[in-house]
């Protein structure tokens, strides 16, 4: 296995592990939203501005979870494709070697057709891999977009929290945890994207 294939396997496998961390964090946001909603309800008028924010946070967490679930399915497909591409490339190289070794064998020329087919199916696989990587990068970008939105909301929450009197501290804690979670999601997804992006065009 070449280093290129090795790192391709690692890159694809790492997506799933990074994303499982994202999933945990997204669920935490969802919990924080539920928590915030309860506090805002108790706070009544003092946290009026906070109430629509909690719904928004909850919605965002839900969407992130859905997206990540979908990406995980795609990452699995991409992993299979990586295995497939590895097999096709190995087969092509071995067929090429066999053709070379056959030298002046009576039927050496009959290797040409399987060799051509192996090349085509290897190239097919490589194209499909690149296509799927681009698509996955697009999906990861969507998750990052959500993470950025969550940070903006966290900032707004802090402002709203400051007007909530005795609830200030607990609402601020909610805003803090949303911000932290969004940060983690952003970082993890960014790592996935960097790992994958080298396979988009080469």
């Amino acid at each position: 296995m070449t280093n290129q294939t090795k790192s391709q396997f690692v890159a694809v496998a790492s997506i799933t592990s990074e994303l499982s961390a994202v999933m945990v964090v997204a669920k935490e946001i969802s919990l924080a939203a539920a928590n915030a909603k309860a506090i805002a309800f108790r706070a009544g008028d003092k946290a009026k501005g906070f109430q629509p924010i909690t719904d928004f946070i909850n919605e965002l967490a839900k969407e992130t979870i859905e997206l990540v679930t979908d990406i995980n399915i795609h990452a699995l497909v991409l992993y299979r494709l990586t295995v497939n591409e590895f097999q096709k490339t190995t087969a092509y190289n071995k067929l090429e070697l066999a053709a070379k070794m056959a030298g002046d064998a009576v039927y050496a020329n009959t290797m040409q057709e399987p060799l051509d087919n192996a090349r085509l199916s290897m190239q097919d696989c490589q194209r499909q891999f690149k296509r799927d990587v681009s698509q996955l990068l697009g999906q990861l970008e969507a998750v990052m977009h959500h993470a950025r939105a969550a940070r903006v909301i966290a900032a707004n929450s802090r402002i709203e929290a400051s007007q909530a009197g005795e609830y200030l501290q607990s609402l601020q804690a909610v805003a803090e945890s949303v911000d932290k979670a969004a940060h983690t999601i952003h970082d993890n997804v960014q790592r996935c994207r960097i790992a994958l992006s080298i396979y988009r065009n080469n």
């Binding site: 071995k94 066999a98 192996a118």
Partner: protein, 242 residues
């Protein structure tokens, strides 16, 4: 890869082995090819490392599209880990292999090649006008294990039975049976698990008319050495590791 024709009649048997390009740390194997008018059967086609030299060697005898059949005596990697590569090269081929190993062997990838499961009681492989018999040899050493007998050529291909480990330039036939015994003893005692299975197999094989006994490793046995081998194996206690 050394090629030795061991039968020439209405069809041919060719033994391939003693591959000089083989990495030193993998086990040396013999591959056998049965060539009929329009078809070609590879018996225990070998490990993945051996695919390219084996393919190249077969091209001296048959065009790719006439390699129509593969046979795997059992599931070991030295027997058939090249399957995934043959699968990419052959578009019109069947793999005859023990039914119980189907789910295992498919790990090597077997998509364009059709897996023909051999039931426990064996069967036949028809190649043009030649009919080969698939002889059960379970637990010798693999739990699902078969040999191939050609009644016309009087050759019995015996997989790991009769195996010995030799220098890369060793002759392909046993020429001094008593000296050869020491190269086989430990292998058979350690690799063959069951005295009962051994007894049943010897009984079955003694009824066949055999000129050449052709194992997957080492040298072939010819003429009287076939009987000598069966007698020796009959008397040997196997399954010694427990």
């Amino acid at each position: 890869m050394k090629m030795t024709k061991i039968y020439e009649g209405s069809h041919q048997w060719i033994m391939f082995g003693r591959d000089e390009g083989k990495p030193a740390n993998i086990i040396d194997t013999n591959q056998y090819v049965v060539r009929t008018a329009n078809r070609c059967l590879l018996l225990d086609p070998g490990g993945a490392e051996l695919f390219a030299p084996m393919m190249a060697a077969v091209l001296h005898h048959a065009p790719v599209d006439q390699i129509t059949d593969l046979f795997a005596s059992h599931q070991d990697p030295d027997v058939i880990s090249s399957l995934g590569l043959w699968d990419q090269a052959l578009t019109n081929a069947k793999l005859h292999a023990p039914a119980i190993w189907e789910g295992f062997l498919r790990h090597y990838s077997c998509e364009s090649i059709e897996y023909v499961p051999i039931p426990d009681n064996g069967g036949t492989i028809k190649l043009d006008s030649v009919e080969l018999q698939i002889i059960p040899a379970h637990y010798l050493h693999s739990p699902g294990n078969f040999h191939v007998y050609d009644p016309q050529a009087k050759i019995l291909m015996t997989g790991d039975i009769g195996a010995a480990f030799e220098a890369p330039d060793a002759p392909v036939f046993v020429d001094n049976f008593s000296a050869h015994v020491e190269k086989m003893r430990h292998w058979h005692q350690r690799m063959m698990p069951s005295n009962q299975a051994k007894r049943v197999w010897i009984e079955r094989v003694r009824n066949l008319d055999i000129d050449i006994l052709a194992p997957q490793h080492g040298r072939m046995f010819k003429g009287d050495d076939v009987k000598r081998f069966l007698d020796w194996f009959d008397a040997l206690q196997v399954g010694i590791a427990v």
